[in-house]
């Protein structure tokens, strides 16, 4: 069956709710409307208003109440409507969601998922195209997941809901309409495992979320246009990162770049590049490169395409790796 990423996420929520009656879904407009992206479409009608409900516009309240719910034995799955509106909840996320297990010496874990549609490329107005993954990945105690394909969207969301620790689930909103042939339910890859999306020998392209599609496009073009055989690694779980898979790929190809939409400075790619240089230094033929958004506030819609990394920019970086 052909399914979009949005449809896969919707199916994951529905299947998790059917299987486990402690799973509750709530957030702004997720009930009657089914969410502004329709990810929660039909859930309230099927599960009732106790299991899927609308909240007042209060993001800190959404995250904060989820803590109390998890403390009482429910598994809340809450939605931040957009990346740019998730920041009012950061105090709850950083001060409590991330720290509760540690604070209570392991006595209280908080199984909960905070879903955030993130990233640009949809021609949106300000505050609707942000990539906040570094804030969350930097925070000890959080598990940060971002799927790149519809199959992974389904499987990783189900795994995140079943996970015993809080998960920040970053949904690449420009890929909500990406289609894939799927027979549900697809089995869940464990949280914390990266995957080699395309095996290759020339260089490694490390990507996640919205950039997985872009990296695959670059690899296809590289093969057609230049005869380069690129390996594409999809990080999937940003924290804790599966560094072994990344190191193995970089060691094999000897050349690696990491690509993301978020700004470059102290971005997620900086950590990956640093780890690769520590662990694969002797195998690298060139420095690890970063292909990222610029260090500017996310630009307005008419010029965003110049900000976002695309296949051309990835291929330029591959050329620099090869010509080093």
């Amino acid at each position: 069956m052909e399914l979009t990423m949005a449809g896969a996420l919707n199916a994951a929520l529905r299947d998790s709710m059917r299987e486990d009656d402690t799973v509750v879904v709530y957030g702004e407009d997720v009930g009657r409307l089914g969410g502004v992206f329709r990810i929660t479409d039909g859930l309230q009608a099927e599960m009732g208003t106790d299991r899927c409900f609308d909240t007042p516009v209060a993001e800190s309240g959404i995250a904060g109440t989820a803590i109390g719910m998890a403390l009482y034995g429910l598994r809340p799955v809450v939605e931040m409507q957009f990346d740019g509106f998730s920041y009012p909840a950061l105090n709850q996320v950083i001060s409590h969601v991330a720290k509760y297990r540690n604070r209570t010496r392991g006595r209280v874990g908080l199984p909960m998922v905070i879903r955030i549609p993130y990233g640009g490329g949809i021609g949106a107005v300000e505050h609707h195209s942000e990539s906040p993954e570094a804030y969350y990945s930097h925070t000890a105690g959080l598990t940060v997941v971002s799927p790149g394909t519809p199959a992974d969207a389904y499987a990783l969301l189900r795994a995140s809901i079943a996970f015993d620790d809080p998960v920040i689930f970053l949904e690449p909103k420009r890929r909500y309409w990406l289609k894939e042939d799927l027979d549900l339910p697809v089995s869940a890859p464990p949280i914390g495992e990266a995957v080699v999306r395309r095996a290759g020998a020339t260089a490694t392209v490390i990507a996640y979320g919205p950039m997985v599609t872009t990296a695959m496009e670059a690899a296809t073009r590289a093969a057609d246009e230049s005869g380069w055989d690129l390996e594409v690694v999809d990080v999937r779980t940003l924290s804790p990162v599966d560094m072994d898979t990344l190191v193995a790929s970089a060691t094999k190809t000897g050349r690696a770049l990491v690509v993301h939409e978020a700004a470059r400075f102290v971005g997620y790619g900086a950590e990956i590049a640093a780890e690769l240089s520590e662990r694969a230094f002797g195998y690298l033929a060139a420095p690890v490169l970063r292909v990222t958004g610029f260090d500017v506030p996310y630009p307005s819609a008419k010029i965003e395409r110049h900000f976002l990394p695309d296949a051309d920019r990835i291929l330029d970086a591959v050329a620099r790796l090869l010509e080093y």
């Binding site: 800190s60 109440t65 009482y72 001060s95 209570t104 804790p240 990162v241």
Partner: protein, 372 residues
Amino acid sequence: MSVEVSSAASEPSSFPGPSKAAWQDVGAEGAMTAALPHDVDLSNDQLRSLYRLMALSRRVDRQAINLTRQGALGVFASSHGQEAAQVGSVFALEADDWLFPTYRETVGTFARGVDVVDLLALFSGSWHCGFDPYRYRVAPLTTPLATQALHAVGLAMAARIKHDPIVALTFFGDGAASEGDAHEALNLAAVYAAPVVFVVQNNGYAISVPFHLQTRTSSIALRAPGVGMPGIRVDGNDVISVYGAVKTAVDRARRGEGPTLIEAVTYRLEAHTTADDTTRYRSDDESTEWRARDPVEGFLRVLREGGIVDDSFLAEVEAEGEATAARMRDFLFGAPAGDPLEMFDHVYATPTAQLDAQRALLGQELLAAEES
């Protein structure tokens, strides 16, 4: 619409008698009543229990201050003067109810039954939360202001979803009432008719900033009609009135009639913490005036006049207080630091490769230090 609150009615009242309470109600349109009398159903045994908890609380508080001066605690936020507000509130809860305290509510948490040594772990520096929240149905003492109010609302919402007849009580202060999370918690609780009781201890100061710089209104309770819940203003130094007001709210919440906002007007007789200096922001006259309304001594006076306590009971309570204080000294003085490697143990349910590597690194450092 302006809200009239008579200044006489907003003054803490004198003790009306052992089982007589009084409080002001805030109506749906924002008008506050004068303090109206209420009968409170407390047996003499319960009155003695209340006194015992308040007297023990005071002893615990004094010992904690002394232990801080002696270096056994890094810092301590005293509840001296706020015993009635805290103990009276907690006394209205049933065993299955939940309490969401802040760092100020050590004596309320102690009164809930949490072991005093475990309770003070936050201040002794042995761990951030030293007790098991599930054992006592008490959340960790929370430091970021008003954030725990949302946790109480969420837990209460979950209890409603599961059809469990329990109530969540959360404390916060007049300073924390200015936080966004306080507003969000009140509104969300009202929207979902969550079984929550919000007890604001208005002790007059947010560290140094007085109440009139925190809000243009005369009472935090006046926020209740703004979110559509009942509000109550009560003399926080009168334990019977606090208990009566909170019990009314707890019962209402348990019946499924939603949350209540209660402002308990009280005064912090000690400094904000042991690191604070009150002489920079408040006068001796003011604290002297409040010392005359001491909640523990005032309650004892009423109980004595009513013939509810006698010397042998008071001697027992004093001896129990001394034993508790001795236990604090025994376990908090020179308590060993925990195993540094434990910092890695509770970050995630399943250990990560990154943390395993860092744990090994620290393990090597510790070993090297031991050998040198």
